[in-house]
């Protein structure tokens, strides 16, 4: 995944969960912060799919439990 793609992914996280711009995304984990619950997880997935033009497999949707993991997963779909 390129730096530009990482920035794009970060901006999706920030807008979906309404984080401040200076949030440390590496510390964000599913279920441990207010806002990242199963409802907003669906919004996150749908935004990622739309912005990157990809469709994630079920296992990847369920495994995307942190920003770090999202970078790894989305990286498999984009070149």
């Amino acid at each position: 995944m390129t730096d530009d793609q990482k920035v794009k992914l970060a901006s999706i996280f920030i807008s979906t969960f309404q984080f401040p711009e200076d949030v440390i995304l590496d510390s964000i984990v599913y279920g441990e912060i207010r806002g990242w619950d199963s409802l907003n997880h669906l919004t996150l997935v749908s935004e990622i799919e739309e912005e990157f033009g990809i469709m994630l497999d079920t296992d990847d949707v369920l495994d995307m439990s942190s920003f770090h993991k999202a970078v790894e997963i989305v990286g498999k779909y984009v070149f």
């Binding site: 409802l39 669906l42 949707v61 439990s65």
Partner: protein, 197 residues
């Protein structure tokens, strides 16, 4: 006696808890990843089996396993209890709500629990409590559309700590909008869970 009846949803179903679920109940409730803010269940599988048998005798108390309709696997628990009926259906408390991490079962579990209350039991209001620090569940209830009624007088003891709780509720008038919203979400989840790897 209030064992309840199964309720089919879109991607998940509710079925009454039976004694054979004792081990699943203990594992799910005592896994800190799933139930960080629920009081842990003490005792053995046998104790839990006995408790479930006693629960079946409690009037106005409904306890369900949440099953994934696609796989048939149990992925969560939910309960309705302390039913106080009156001439207009009365109130019931929703709780014992816990689903396996990453199952995406939470929205439809909430939907089915409320559907059971409003469409099977015909109550006029469902209410429940969440520990004040349980930001994940509090955010989830708010996103779903439950009415936040603020700090309640109900407290929970977990370990040595006593926790305050917030009260959430849904009335019969609010049920149609809640149902429409979570039905859309449930369909979206089924579509995701049905994708091929």
């Amino acid at each position: 006696m209030a064992v309840g009846v199964p309720l089919e949803g879109i991607g998940f179903r509710l079925r009454p808890v039976v004694a054979a679920d004792a081990s699943f109940v203990l594992d799910l409730r005592n896994n800190p990843q799933n139930a960080k803010f629920l009081p842990p269940l003490p005792g053995t599988v046998e104790d839990q089996r006995n408790w479930i048998q006693r629960q079946h005798q409690l009037p106005g108390d409904y306890y369900f396993v949440v099953e994934d309709r696609r796989t048939g696997l149990a992925v969560g628990l939910t309960g309705l209890y302390a039913h106080a009926p009156d001439s207009d259906g009365g109130l019931i408390e929703w709780g014992r709500f816990v689903v396996a991490n990453k199952s995406l079962a939470a929205p439809e579990t909430s939907l089915l629990s409320h559907r059971y209350a409003f469409e099977v039991l015909n109550v006029r209001e469902v209410f429940g409590y969440s520990i004040e620090q349980n930001e994940k569940v509090i955010g989830f209830h708010r996103s779903c559309g439950l009415e936040d009624r603020g700090l309640s007088s109900t407290t929970y003891k977990i370990g040595d700590q006593v926790h305050r709780s917030l009260c959430f509720a849904l009335t019969r008038d609010q049920w149609p909008d809640f149902k429409a919203k979570l039905t859309r979400t449930a369909r979206q989840i089924v579509q995701i869970l049905g994708r091929k790897p």
